[in-house]
Structure formats: structure tokens, C-alpha cells
């Protein structure tokens, strides 16, 4: 048993150019290069990606699920941000 837990890294894959990177899962590694190698071997055995990002899980800043409602609340009552808020009479085209 190794004395010390290896750091956890989150793995993100861009499946083809033009698309964003997407979270795939996580892996353990002692350093960044090993994290990339392990991510490649674990998550792209069938050409699933053209680009890989790995980032140490403890470096990710995340919103708190317990505070989800309050945190996203400011956007909730601003329905005028959506195009459907505006009534445009029939006959007006290309709008």
C-alpha cells in the first residue's frame, strides 16, 4: 500500500475540433504528465479525443449544491432576457 494517496485529477476530452472539452471521469497520478498519460490510456482507447485536459480535482472551485437555489436566483426573474418575452405582431418578418 503506498503511504500517500495519489492526487486525483479530473479528465476532460475534446472529441473533435469544433466541440468543447467535456468531463469524462477522473484518474489518479503522481504528477501532471502521468495524469495525461493515464487519462489517455483510460479514457481514449478508441480514439475518443483529439485533445485532453487534466486538472487536479482539488483545484476546481465549485458552486455549493446546498446553495443552488439562492446562487442562481438572480437570473430567475429576468424573463425579459429571453426572446419569447417580446410580442411581435404577425406580418413582421425576419425578426
Amino acid at each position: 500500500m503506498s503511504k500517500q494517496e495519489w492526487p486525483l485529477y479530473e479528465v476532460f476530452i475534446r472529441s473533435k475540433s469544433g466541440l468543447s472539452h467535456r468531463h469524462a471521469g477522473s484518474i489518479h497520478a503522481t504528477d501532471d504528465q502521468m495524469a495525461l498519460d493515464n487519462a489517455r490510456d483510460t479514457y481514449t482507447r478508441r480514439c475518443e479525443g483529439v485533445s485532453l485536459w487534466v486538472v487536479r480535482s482539488d483545484r476546481i472551485i465549485a458552486s455549493d449544491p446546498a446553495e443552488t437555489a439562492a446562487f442562481f436566483e438572480p437570473a430567475e426573474d429576468k424573463i425579459y432576457r429571453h426572446p419569447t418575452f417580446y410580442e411581435i405582431p404577425d406580418g413582421v418578418e425576419n425578426l
Binding site: 494517496e5 484518474i27 503522481t30 504528477d31 478508441r46
Partner: protein
């Protein structure tokens, strides 16, 4: 299945933390088919059930590399060897996807590995059977991966997000596993009488253990109801077993080999096959550690782990040295 609903004596399961309001709100989310994510509130028993199931599943993938790995150096052609190598590597990958899904629930990787190595953790009974001839590699792909697929497809809709996503990834890869196995047996069955006899012999030995993979009968499966309510499980053990039998018998007929069950017959009214009684004593024995290969499987895993110790140490020493240099 790969998880088989083992370790059922979890006494604390009923003592879920959380107020009645929290529990009701949680169940409401589940009923609305919302996914639960790692940092969301969940009942302690839900968390524990998932840790047990996902880690057992991961251990099964890892131990499952052994029976097939056993034939890597003896594959009859370079093509078959490359296929088998890729398949065994996939199983290792499945173990890794699943360990990382389990870790999101707050158990460490080292803890899970320690539980496997100490013999505390369970893994699927199927991997305690020996692979004595090359046809067994075909039978494993066809039957064992086939049974796994039956179980894993509904798990893609499991209420716990990280597990469901890991299963989607796994399922994409399983279909190759099953097809290469079936094709291997098809090749044998179209070969000499001796080769066909090998395929029949493999089916004879793997059929019943494969049916056992689905776990105890529903009447004996204590945790099923709760797992169904939580939508961790979507179908009962017996339902999945029946589906498996229904599709597999026809595939055996195509191969021209016969399922070793004198009681097997098609019920014209229901359209389902009825089949003979499973030897549950054998199942219990294998689970209890007394199957043909339990000891060997565990020892091999322990040896692989301790043989790798120096590599892990070196990697860690290298990383610390690099970090120290960067800091200087």
C-alpha cells in the same frame, strides 16, 4: 451480477440519517427521474449501498482480467491475441471508471484496494471459475459479458449520475467483448468435430455459473426493493436472468451446441423459456470463498500489487523531487 447484491447484512441500512422532510424531498427527486450528483444531499444508506455496489462492480472488472489474461500467451493466432489483449485492457479500464465513480461518494481508492486485497470486499462469483481451454475465452465473452450487458444497460439509467455515466462508457465497449466471444465460438463450431466439442464443453461449464451472475432469486434478494425504489436497480434479478436465457438459447442453437439443461423448454404461451433449478449451494460456496479459484485469484491480485510497490514508490519519489525543484 457483477455486483450480485452481495454483503447483504448491512444492518445500518435502515438507520438513514436525515429528517423525514429531507428523505421525502430526496425520494421526490428520484421519482421525478432527476439524477443525484456527488455533492447533493443523499441518505446515508443510499450512499453506502452505492459504495458497496460500485466498488464490488469495480473489483469484479479487475479480478475478471485474470481468467482471460490466463490465455494471452496461448492465443492461437496474433489476431486473437491482439483482440484478447484489448478486451482484458478494457476490463481494467472499466475497473478504473468504476473506482472513480465510487470515489465521488467519499471512499478513497486506497481503501477500496485494501478491502479487495484483504479479502473483505466481494466480487462476482463468476471469476472464480477456471479457464481450462481456449473455447472458454469464447464462452466468457459470449455468456459472461452477455450477462453483464443485460445488467449494465439498465444501470446506464441509474439514479446516481457518476455511476450512470460510467456505465454508458462501459456499455459502449461491452458489445465488442460479447461479439468477439461469439465469433470465436462460431469459428470453433464451424471447424473440426474436436473443435466443436471444445465449444460444447465450454458451454457446459459456463452456462450455470453465468445464470448465477444475476444473483439470488427475487424471493431471497433482501435489498432489491429498496434499490428499486431508489432507482439504482431497474429490473429484478429474476427478470434479468429470464431475459438473458431468452436471448441466449437462440444464439446457442445457431452455434449448433446445446444448453446443458434438460428442463429447458420454450413456454409457447408466454414466449419465455422455462429452465431448471440453479444449484444455489454452489453459488453460496463460491461467494463464501470456496469456489475453484477464489484463493488463486486473490493471491495473484495481492502479488501484482506488492510487485508494483517499487514502481509506485519511484513515481512518488520522482514527483516529489520535481515539485521540490520547481519550488526552488
Amino acid at each position: 451480477m457483477y455486483t450480485q447484491g452481495l454483503d447483504q447484512g448491512d444492518k445500518e441500512t435502515q438507520a438513514s440519517a436525515g429528517t423525514p422532510e429531507q428523505l421525502a424531498a430526496f425520494q421526490e427527486r428520484i421519482d421525478a427521474e432527476e439524477k443525484i450528483e456527488a455533492k447533493d444531499w443523499m441518505p446515508e444508506a443510499y450512499r453506502r449501498t452505492l459504495i458497496r455496489q460500485i466498488s464490488q462492480h469495480a473489483h469484479s472488472e479487475v479480478i475478471g482480467m485474470q481468467p482471460e489474461g490466463n490465455w494471452l500467451t496461448r492465443a492461437p493466432s496474433l489476431k486473437r491475441k491482439a483482440i484478447l489483449l484489448a478486451k482484458v485492457q478494457d476490463e481494467g479500464g472499466h475497473g478504473l471508471y468504476l473506482y472513480s465513480a465510487a470515489e465521488t461518494l467519499g471512499i478513497s481508492r486506497d481503501q477500496m484496494v485494501a478491502d479487495l486485497l484483504s479479502g473483505k470486499a466481494k466480487y462476482s462469483s463468476i471469476f472464480n471459475y477456471p479457464t481450462v481451454n481456449w473455447a472458454d475465452i469464447g464462452a466468457i465473452g459470449w455468456l459472461v459479458d452477455g450477462a453483464a450487458i443485460m445488467n449494465q444497460i439498465p444501470l446506464c439509467r441509474c439514479s446516481y449520475g457518476p455511476y450512470a455515466r460510467a456505465m454508458v462508457r462501459v456499455c459502449k465497449e461491452e458489445s465488442f467483448h460479447q461479439r468477439q466471444g461469439y465469433e470465436l465460438l462460431l469459428t470453433l463450431c464451424r471447424g473440426s468435430a474436436e473443435q466443436k466439442a471444445m465449444a460444447q464443453d465450454a458451454l457446459n461449464r459456463w452456462w450455470w455459473p453465468s445464470l448465477m451472475m444475476f444473483g439470488p432469486n427475487d424471493s431471497e434478494s433482501k435489498h432489491s426493493a429498496q434499490s428499486m425504489a431508489w432507482k439504482i436497480k431497474r429490473f429484478s434479478n429474476d427478470e434479468l436472468r429470464q431475459k438473458f436465457v431468452d436471448v441466449t438459447v437462440q444464439q446457442a442453437e445457431f452455434l449448433g451446441i446445446s444448453v446443458p439443461d434438460p428442463d429447458l423448454k420454450l413456454d409457447k404461451k408466454t414466449g419465455h423459456y422455462t429452465f431448471g433449478e440453479i444449484d444455489w449451494q454452489e453459488f453460496i460456496d463460491v461467494i463464501a470463498g470456496n469456489g475453484p479459484c477464489n484463493k488463486q485469484r486473490l493471491e495473484k491480485r495481492q502479488k501484482a500489487h506488492s510487485d508494483g510497490e517499487w514502481v509506485r514508490e519511484a513515481a512518488q519519489a520522482y514527483a516529489s523531487k520535481q515539485a521540490a525543484r520547481a519550488a526552488a
